[in-house]
Every structure is written in C-alpha cells, then in structure tokens.
C-alpha cells in the first residue's frame, strides 16, 4: 500500500499523470467550445454582479424559497446558477467527445496500448473536474463579493460549493456513460442533451440546493441538526449510487467482450445493494418501529433499477468469455454454480438480477413483514423489474432472427426494447382514448405490460400487472432455457478442457 502510494505521489510530482486526463486537458484548452463556455460564464457572472450592484437590496425568490435576507444570499444563488449551467455544458461536451471518440474508433488505438478502460474513464472524469475547478476559481472573486455584500455566511457558501462539486461529478459520470452507450451519433446526441440535464437536475445540485435553501438560507446558516439521520443516510446512499453506477457501467461498456467485463459491475452492484440493506436494517433496528415506507424502495434502487437490468442483459448478450476468463471458473460444482451469475453474458445477467430480486423479496419480508400487504411500492418494483427483463429477453429472441448485419452489437436489442416499451406504454392508451372519443389522458398505470406502472398510484392494477409480468417472464425464460443450458455447459467442465469459439 505504502509503495503504491509513493509511486502515485512520484507520478504526480514528475507530472506523469493519467495520460487521458493530460490529453483531455490539452484538448479542452484548445477547444473553441470550452473557451466559449468560459467566456459566456464570465459574461454571465459580470452581468449578475452588475445587476446586484444596481439594485443592492433586491429580494429574490428561487423555486418558492425566499433567499434574500441580504443581497449577498440572492447573488450567491445566481452565481451558483451560472456555474451550474457551465457545468451542464461541460458535461454535455464531455459526453459528445466521448461518443465521437467511440464512433471514430479512436478507442481501438487506445486499447492497443497498456491503458485500461478504467484509466480512460477516470481520465475523462478528472479532466472534467479539473475544468470545473477552473470554472470555480474564475467564479471565486464573485463568490467573495457575495460574502462582502452580507446576507450569507461562509458555511453556506462552502455548502453550496460542495453541492456544485457533487452535482458536477454526477453530471460528468452520467455524461461519460452516455458517451459510452452503443448508439449512433444522432440518437446519442438527443439522449445526451436530455439525460445529462435530467440526471443533473434530479440527482445533483437541485435537491441539495433546495434542502439547503429551505433550511439554511432562512436562518442564515446551515442547520444540519434539523436533518433526520435516516434521511441523510438515504440521500448519501442515493448520491453514492448515482456516481458509482454510471462510473462502473462506463468501464464495462469500454471493456473487451471476451474479458469478464460484467464481473466488477455485478460485484459493485451487489456490494451497494448489501450496504444499502445494512443501512435499512439499521434504520429498522434503531427506530424499532418498522421502517418508513420510502426506505425499502430506496434500498432497492441501487440494485434493481430497471434500466440496469436492460442494459446489462442486452449489452452482454453476445459476450463469450475468453480463455483467460474461463481459467478462473471454480472447479467444484457448487463453486461454479455460485460464480455463474458473476460471469459476463446475457443469461448470467438475468440469473444475477433474478437472484437479487428474490433476495430483495426475502429481505423486505424479513425486515418489514407488512411490506407486501401494505405498500404499493413493493409490488410495483416486482412489476417494473419483471417487465424490464421481459422486454429485453423478448427483444433478444426477436433480434436473434434478424439478419447478421442488423443484430451485431447491442444496439438492436436496445432499440427493439425501447420500441416495445413505448408501444406498451402509449399505444393502448391512445387506442383506448380514440375509441371512446375521450380527451386524451395518459393513464399510464393501467395498461398491462406498462413499465411506467410505478408512477401511478392506483394499487388496483398491480395484481393484473403482476400476473401479466409473471406469465410473460415465465414464457420468455422458458424460450431462453436452451441458451441458459448451453451457456452453463461451458462452466460444467474444468477450465483447461473448455473449448472456445463456435462453429458457424
């Protein structure tokens, strides 16, 4: 450990930093787009400052929270807003560059070197964060001015900066993931524009800022004592997941299909899931009065969010572990059985996800025996996961019958899945509305096969959904059974006897 640290420190001292980070920073500094972001940000900050100087005692309301007890507080909000916009633009640019690099197969050349996918992702992330630090340092004089104008204390400023840093990190890791997804440039650009803003707004700065605004600004200080520890631990768990999930997904999307690329991801997800379970268990134990309705589903989110099941199954469908990977298959039958879900491959992914779902069901019942009776969330999680796996396995069955040119890569199952999701969610609703000549209302919770069932509060539909999802899941699993046996067969023989490759 000490030797590794010394080697790392020596690298920093001599300027031998992550190669991707160095290259990215050099490119950022030459990039016209990055320079425009800086210029526009500075212009925005100057305008904000001039505005506040012009009207020194203004009172401003942001998202319903009055934050101006002095003009410094209001101005800080505006400065943070300008910085946030710059961060989002930076994340968009990072995603665009990552996607372009993937499209032009520059990454191929990178992987003829001894660089690892993790170094590439970290390099991009660190370069983005370095740029964010540059933005921050440029905004520092304006932040100092907010303090001098009164109405805000240092702790709030530091808290705000931390929020911005967290938001920026999350946005960057989400953006890198989007750049790594196996879609065409057009689809990716649209997705990037939508998702970065969505991820950033929903998981990053805004919840923090709002919480801070409502608790801190009113009293001219951060009052963490007002926070429930359960609430704080849950938010912290969500933030950790919001970073770790896209980070590990990006690494696996860049990894070679013959490496056991899903192993670190599944291990991380299982670890997160178990850690979240420990937090929930602690909450149940300490409060000794059961757990609030909201916590169990939150625990479920890290491991079971539907898109992860879609992604990991569809992405690894064509994965065939290479000889290096197969050497690590345990020799004992039980060992092979236990390790099977952690090896790369679509079927292994399905087994892993189902195992986690069953584990979740068992633990949820243990921790909160009333869970299945009282809460709609528990049923809806099973529904949402069931549909997610159904969609992707059905898409897989369809795409296996398409011509080779269409089914290479993971893009096709993804697109078929998205088509099925959209069809199942919207077409029945539209037909229903057109037939009855009613005003269109998207009653998204009522149609069987609808992935968005969880967003509706109508508990009457869950039994129907559970039935449909159960039957559908059973059918597709049955149809995929030959594949499961074929895949598992490779794990039944000792590693050195395993034949690789397949005859056409």
């Amino acid at each position: 450990m000490k030797r590794r640290f010394l080697a790392w420190w020596e690298d920093i001292r001599t300027g031998d930093l992550n190669p991707v980070m160095v290259r990215e920073l050099r490119q950022y500094l030459r990039s016209r787009f990055a320079n425009w972001i800086v210029i526009l940000m500075l212009a925005g900050l100057v305008l904000v400052t001039m505005g506040f100087f012009a009207e020194a005692r203004s009172r401003v309301t942001v998202t319903g929270v009055e934050i101006a007890s002095g003009s410094g507080g209001a101005m800080f909000g505006m400065v943070a807003g300008v910085l946030s916009i710059a961060s989002v633009l930076l994340a968009l640019y990072t995603a665009q560059r990552m996607g372009a690099e993937r499209d032009r197969q520059n990454l191929d050349l990178l992987f003829t070197t001894i660089l690892r996918p993790g170094q590439v992702v970290r390099g991009k992330l660190f370069a983005g964060l370095a740029m964010f630090s540059l933005f921050l340092s440029l905004a520092m004089p304006f932040m100092t001015m907010t303090y001098m104008m009164r109405g805000i204390d240092v702790r709030v400023i530091l808290w705000g900066l931390l929020s911005l840093a967290v938001g920026s990190t999350l946005a960057l890791s989400g953006a890198i993931l989007l750049g790594c997804l196996p879609f065409g440039p057009l689809f990716r650009r649209g997705g990037i524009a939508f998702m970065v803003v969505f991820v950033w707004l929903s998981l990053g700065v805004v919840p923090f800022m709002l919480r801070m605004g409502s608790r801190a600004f009113r009293h001219s200080g951060v009052t963490l004592s007002g926070w429930d520890w359960q609430e704080a631990s849950t938010i912290a768990a969500i933030l950790v997941c919001a970073f770790v999930v896209p980070y590990s997904l990006s690494i696996l999307l860049l990894s070679h299909a013959r490496s056991n690329r899903f192993f670190p991801f599944r291990l991380t997800m299982t670890g997160l899931w178990l850690a979240s379970m420990a937090v929930v268990a602690a909450q149940v134990y300490i409060s000794s009065g059961g757990v609030a309705d909201v916590f169990l589903p939150l625990w479920f989110i890290p491991g079971m969010v539907f898109f992860l099941a879609l992604l990991q199954v569809s992405e690894s469908m064509e994965d065939v572990p290479g000889p290096r990977v197969l050497r690590h298959v345990p020799r004992s039958f039980l060992g092979r059985l236990a390790s099977f879900p952690f090896f790369t491959g679509g079927i292994q992914g399905t087994v892993w996800a189902l195992a986690l779902l069953v584990g979740y069901g068992a633990m949820a019942t243990l921790l909160d025996p009333e869970a299945w009776v009282q809460g709609k969330e528990y049923g809806c999680i099973a529904v949402i996961f069931g549909y997610a796996v159904c969609y992707i396995l059905t898409a897989r069955l369809i795409s296996a019958r398409l011509p080779l040119s269409l089914r290479q890569g993971a893009g096709t199952p993804w697109l078929i899945t998205l088509y099925m999701v959209a069809t199942a969610a919207f077409v029945p609703v539209l037909v229903d509305n057109m037939r009855d000549n009613r005003t269109i209302s998207f009653d998204l919770g009522s149609e069987p096969g609808n992935l968005f069932a969880m967003f509706r509060g109508n508990e009457d539909h869950y039994e129907l959904h559970l039935l449909v999802a159960g039957i559908w899941l059973g059918a597709v699993l049955l149809l995929n059974l030959p594949r499961l046996f074929r895949t598992f067969a490779a794990f039944r023989r000792p590693a050195e006897e395993v034949a690789t490759g397949s005859e056409p």
Binding site: V22, R23, R26, R97, D108, G322, P323
Partner: protein, 313 residues
C-alpha cells in the same frame, strides 16, 4: 522474436472471415500480407493487435498468446491502422506524447522516446501542427511514429500506403526500409503489390479467409511449388502486331499471346530462359523484324493474380 499464427479462425455468424490461417515470420523480416478486399487481412491483423479475439486458433508474439496475454503482446507490438483516426485540437507532439504515456513511459525516457520517433519519422518540422491540419502522407508518418513510440519489436501495418500520393508512398517505402534495418518483424498489407515486392522478404497470400501461398518472396516468384505463373515476354517488331502474334502461336512452347498495340505482343511460355532464346531464334528464322525482346520478371502482383480469384468470404 517470432510471430506465429496458428490455425486462426474468426467467424461472424455464418461468415468465415478467417478460416484456419497459419503462417509465421521472424525478426528482421518484412512480411507482405496480400489478399483481395474482404479476404480477412484486417481481421487477422486486428486479432494480432489484440483488438479482436479469434473464434478458435491462436497467434503468438514471442511465444505469448494474444488471447491469454494480450497486455504482454501489446508491449511488444505496434499497430498502424489504414487511417489515423481523427483527433480534434491536438498537435503532433502532444499526440505522440500521449501515446508514450499510454505505454507507461515516464519522465526522461518518455521525452527521449518522443524526440527519437519525431526524428526517425521526420515530423520534427510539423510537431506543433494540429493533427487535423496534416496531409494524409504526414498523418501516416505520425501513425507509424505512434506505433513505434514504445520501440516494439513487431509492427503490424494495415494498408499503410492506401490513399497516399506517389511522393508520400516513396517516403513511406524509405521509412519501411529503415525499419527493416532496425531488425523489426513487420507484417504489412498493401494493395500496391509492386512495392511490396521491393520491400518484403516474405509474403502470405490469402483469399476467402484461407492461406493460398506463403513463403519467401524469392520462393514465391520462382514458383518452387511448381505453381508459379507462366513466364511472360514482351516482343516488338516493325511489322503488324497481329502477324507477329500468329507467328508466335505457331512456335511450340508459346501458350498465349496478346496484341498490345504498336506492333507489340506479350506472350506466355512455360519454360525457362532457354525456351525464350529458342522462341527468339524461331521468330528471327521466320523473318519477323524483332526490335525488342524483353522477358518480364513476375512480381507479387502476378503471383497474386495467378493464385486468387477475387472471391470474398
């Protein structure tokens, strides 16, 4: 150091891109990799460069399997793709420096490696230029420099001369000559086969993912296996070409003759220089006013045209 390809197969569904290829070459060899488009050259080279995995079979660089020890192979191998991928906002020097870092070179070693490669590939004058501003020939030199940055003993070059103008092609040939002198093992695919004849010591010819012919260039040209193309001779007479063609076809040993215009005829014979001398004597005896009699030496292009049918996998 030896590079060995053993029974390599790569299937994409039912398409056999590479179907049981085997060949080997050694340090100091420049080995030509020849085949029609879609014959499996790039797939084989990508497997050697550890960018793709074979369906079965294996390739070894210095005894290291590309499937089992890809990282060890990467340290010993440089790969030059057919085109340098686009990189925005980066200079030649920064690009080479980036790859030196990516191969784990540090501090002074890195600086020396970058400067050495810049000098060897003659890019010192353009080191501060952005990559996107370079011509294709310059980019190709940078690409070769990138592949040489960690001083690999094996170099895999996929169509390095594609799209280059004659001057850039000559420069590349000189560069390859200099590399050959540095005792590297080089595998190079190219459509410009006449140039390969001059550069290469050996060659492998593939079609539909299978090896048709392999060996040293001399052996291939001599047709040691008895399947070399027929010898061609160009004859020019002062009389009409058609008359000369007819006269040639009457001489035993001449298998085919074609009028090339301007009194010139190219004929093929299945014999050595003695037969050619006999044919010339016979022509003179027939009263043909021969002013030029030139045996055409076969090159890789002739061998390639002779053994391949232009089929793809």
């Amino acid at each position: 150091m030896k590079v060995e390809v053993v029974g390599l197969r790569r299937y994409f569904g039912r398409t056999k891109a590479v179907d049981g290829i085997s060949f080997s070459f050694d340090t100091g060899h420049v080995f030509g990799f020849v085949g029609p488009n879609g014959s499996g050259k790039t797939t084989t080279m990508r497997i050697l460069a550890t960018l793709d995995d074979p369906t079965s079979g294996d390739a070894f660089v210095d005894g290291m399997s590309v499937r089992e020890y890809p990282e060890e192979v990467r340290r010993r191998l440089g790969f030059v793709p057919d085109a340098l991928p686009e990189h925005a906002d980066i200079t030649v020097h920064e690009y080479l420096d980036f790859f030196a870092r990516s191969y784990g070179l540090k501090g002074l070693d890195r600086r020396r490696a970058v400067e050495g490669v810049e000098e060897f590939t003659n890019v010192i004058g353009i080191r501060e230029k952005l990559l996107r501003e370079l011509s294709k020939g310059m980019k190709q030199r940078v690409s070769v420099g990138r592949a040489l940055i960690h001083d690999p003993e094996v170099l895999i070059m996929d169509e390095p001369a594609a799209g280059l103008d004659p001057r850039a092609r000559i420069e590349l040939r000189e560069l390859l000559g200099a590399l050959g002198e540095r005792n590297k093992a080089i595998l190079i695919s190219s459509h410009i086969l006449t140039e390969l004849t001059e550069i290469c010591n050996g060659a492998v010819i593939i079609e539909k993912g299978r090896v048709l012919r392999t060996g040293t260039v001399e052996a291939l040209l001599k047709g040691d296996d008895g399947t070399s193309p027929a010898e061609r001779v160009r004859v020019r007479s002062l009389g009409p070409g058609e008359e000369l063609r007819r006269a040639l076809l009457e001489i035993p040993g001449v298998t085919e003759a074609r009028c090339m215009g301007n009194g010139t005829v190219e004929f093929e014979s299945e014999g050595g220089e003695a037969l050619a001398a006999g044919i010339l004597q016979a022509l003179v005896a027939k009263g043909c006013p021969v002013v030029e009699f030139l045996p055409l030496r076969p090159d890789l292009e002739d061998i390639f045209m002779h053994v391949t049918k232009g089929e793809v996998a």
